[in-house]
Symmetry: C2
Subunit: 202 residues, 2 copies
């Protein structure tokens, strides 16, 4: 059965992005500090982080993301806008973008195709499962999208990359999700980030 997985980099106080996110500042104020570890895995002493990232990326057959993560603002976007992931996005697989604005699929270099889904998170998951075959479906983000899948009971496993800062304000993981029971699968500690992987108990 296809596993539905997700992972988010979060502060110790549970924020996945800082406040005042925008097209110019997608991580919000101070939020870039949550992602830096992923850009530094080739540095000395970061082998454990690199292995966690490699494991998370291996075997993913399709991705789901919110419109903001694709690169959209709040209004309908220009059909010429191809998101902020560049000409060759790092997904190399079908990506299903949750949006209210219909649009034709957008094939990019390197095997990524953005598909725009207007009929909700369950439809997006059905389409992503079919595209993934026996590989994993990854809920890429942002936190609002991950929280919707958590609240709907549609996630099988979830990894938190806990970065040793607090932000105090921003977009919270688990906001509106309610009570869940998890099962610790694995903890990897590095000097820069602590990786907590959980199975979600149904």
């Amino acid at each position: 059965m296809t596993i539905v997985t997700s992972r988010l980099s979060v502060s110790v106080d549970g924020f996945a992005a800082g406040p005042n996110q925008s097209v110019e500042d997608p991580f919000g104020e101070g939020g870039m500090a949550l992602s830096n570890w992923m850009l530094e895995t080739d540095q000395p002493g970061r082998a454990a982080d690199a292995a966690v990232l490699q494991e998370a990326n291996d075997g993913v057959g399709s991705h789901i993301m919110g419109r903001k993560m694709f690169g959209g603002g709040d209004g309908p976007w220009d059909e010429t806008w191809t998101g902020w992931w560049g000409e060759e996005p790092p997904y190399h697989a079908p990506v299903f973008v949750l949006t209210r604005h219909p649009r034709d699929p957008l094939p990019m270099k390197g095997g990524t195709t953005f598909n725009f889904v207007t009929d909700g998170i369950e439809s997006a998951l059905d389409q992503a499962r079919k595209a993934a075959g026996d590989k994993k479906v990854a809920i890429a983000g942002g936190a609002g999208t991950v929280n919707q899948y958590l609240a709907a009971g549609l996630l099988d496993e979830f990894c938190l990359h806990v970065v040793p800062i607090t932000l105090g304000v921003g977009e919270r993981v688990f906001e509106g999700v309610g009570a869940l029971t998890l099962e610790p699968v694995r903890v990897v500690a590095s000097p820069t980030v602590t990786h907590l992987k959980y199975r979600i108990v149904r």
Copy 2:
């Protein structure tokens, strides 16, 4: 120099107590599940949890707690009320209780004396430091008290015992604390709880 330390059991979504805390239900709804691991350290497979707890308790010379943790409600309490820790509380050291209601020190069996401090968190810490000598001062809780010390920059180290549940509502650790930089000191993972110890960078 005296180290000021604290630790809290928290849910994965950052709650240290459930909603609707009261004298009858001090952990709030669902909150008792955060403390169960501490009552089970003599069970098979819990040696790592037992060691973390032992280390946390070793070398503590005095404690600070909020009035609710002592066992007080919101009004002035009856002078005959000795808190809900029983005749022999588990502290075996001076405890400084933050309150607005003056009261004489209350010696209990086993070396615990409750001292009532009415002039704020810094005064309580000064008194606790003197009482601790070269041992540690432990900010015992609850979360509101710990958050006050975090916000004031008075904590040196902090351990989160992350229990694999989410609560969705309740009393949050780090509420109102703002932005901090931490340094991971040590991670201990057990099947029941993940212990994240941080040094707080000034």
